[in-house]
Symmetry: C2
Subunit: 223 residues, 2 copies
């Protein structure tokens, strides 16, 4: 109903053009949106077929089962979303702390702009599927792990530059991802993105020690 992506025109009849990659992409487009907003179980293949303008035969040809479709969505789309909105921006930032801040800001701004919080794609599917099927769970866990490791690696890079001396990289990464995921959960439930900013401010005032106190006290930055 709301999110029709690209149903082929009904006017052009009779002439069919085989476009396996395009058809596969259209199905994944629709499934990605529907799985995130309505969830896996609440998304019926009939709805997806109608929204994508795809017949049952074509769908079954590319994705034999619903589970296969969901696995493709997770591995190709969800993983890419995490990479594009989190991993790459953080790695490209001047520091881990600044990267995390920028992503929080960007996501909060985007949510406030569109006035609707769909939640984190990874988190949404992880909650629904990780207990239901162990194959799902393993793939989702791998994405979470990669996300955390990217942030931790960035902190280690900062440390090689002399900064973030007193920060435990893995601890910082875990807390960042957890705070973001949890904040998104609340934002989705309350349909209000302001909690993201609240948590970001909390993280900014963070002095993450790895055990012994920080040597060089850094003044709080006032951005």
């Amino acid at each position: 109903m709301s999110g029709e992506i690209a149903a082929p025109s009904r006017g052009a009849r009779k002439k069919r053009t085989n476009d396996p990659e395009g058809m596969r992409r259209r199905v994944l487009d629709v499934a990605e949106v529907s799985f995130q907003s309505r969830g896996y179980h609440a998304s019926s293949l009939g709805d997806l077929m109608a929204a994508a303008g795809v017949t049952g035969g074509a769908l079954h040809h590319h994705f034999p089962t619903k589970k296969a479709l969901a696995l493709a969505v997770i591995e190709e789309r969800v993983a890419a979303a995490v990479r594009e909105t989190w991993i790459e921006p953080v790695l490209a930032a001047s520091s881990a702390r600044e990267g995390v801040r920028a992503v929080f800001e960007a996501v909060a701004a985007e949510l406030e702009l569109q006035g609707y919080v769909r939640g984190c794609p990874l988190n949404n599917l992880a909650h629904e599927l990780s207990l239901a099927d162990d194959e799902f769970r393993a793939v989702l866990a791998k994405i979470f792990a990669g996300w955390r490791q990217a942030i931790a690696d960035k902190v280690r890079a900062d440390q090689r530059d002399g900064a973030e001396r007193g920060t435990d990289p893995d601890r910082f990464a875990a807390l960042t991802v957890a705070a973001y995921s949890g904040a998104m959960s609340m934002a989705k439930t309350s349909q209000d993105a302001s909690v993201l900013r609240e948590c970001l401010k909390g993280l900014e005032g963070l002095q993450l020690s790895s055990g012994r106190p920080t040597r060089k006290r850094r003044r709080r930055l006032l951005l």
Copy 2:
């Protein structure tokens, strides 16, 4: 199969005893477990009826629709779970910070003991239902809000005692709940509770200012 709670004995025939409260409780018991571990959509009323040893007539008498059952589970069971495992322990603790630490520890220990992470009941249902139905969403958001407010109130109480001078109560509460929820999400997905401890350690090294720098520097406590 696994979580049979209290199906009435099949041996005793013919004699029926009306026990509306008991029957209602048994249904809620089963539904609470199933909704949390399998999710709302994946839990069929047939399964619940079989697990609770309840006929369709009885179920429909107490809960006219599946949605009504879920609302009852949320309002009576999920809210109570948050109250018992979070709000009451934090309010009873010597300080907000200590209360939060104790709850994190207790939950992590319990999860490691039972070797299986089912996730946070509130978070699980919030993800699946808050976008599907606005009535669900409102109830779940209310529980989240109460949870946060309780922690913030405890911080304010600490401040009246002279402690936590530089901490913004709402910010601390939001970050705490977010970190816990997110950590539970990851723990559930990886089926490993250690990330909870990781996030707790991160929160413990936290210096949450409300804007201006803390007056009296407190030495890091080494618990």
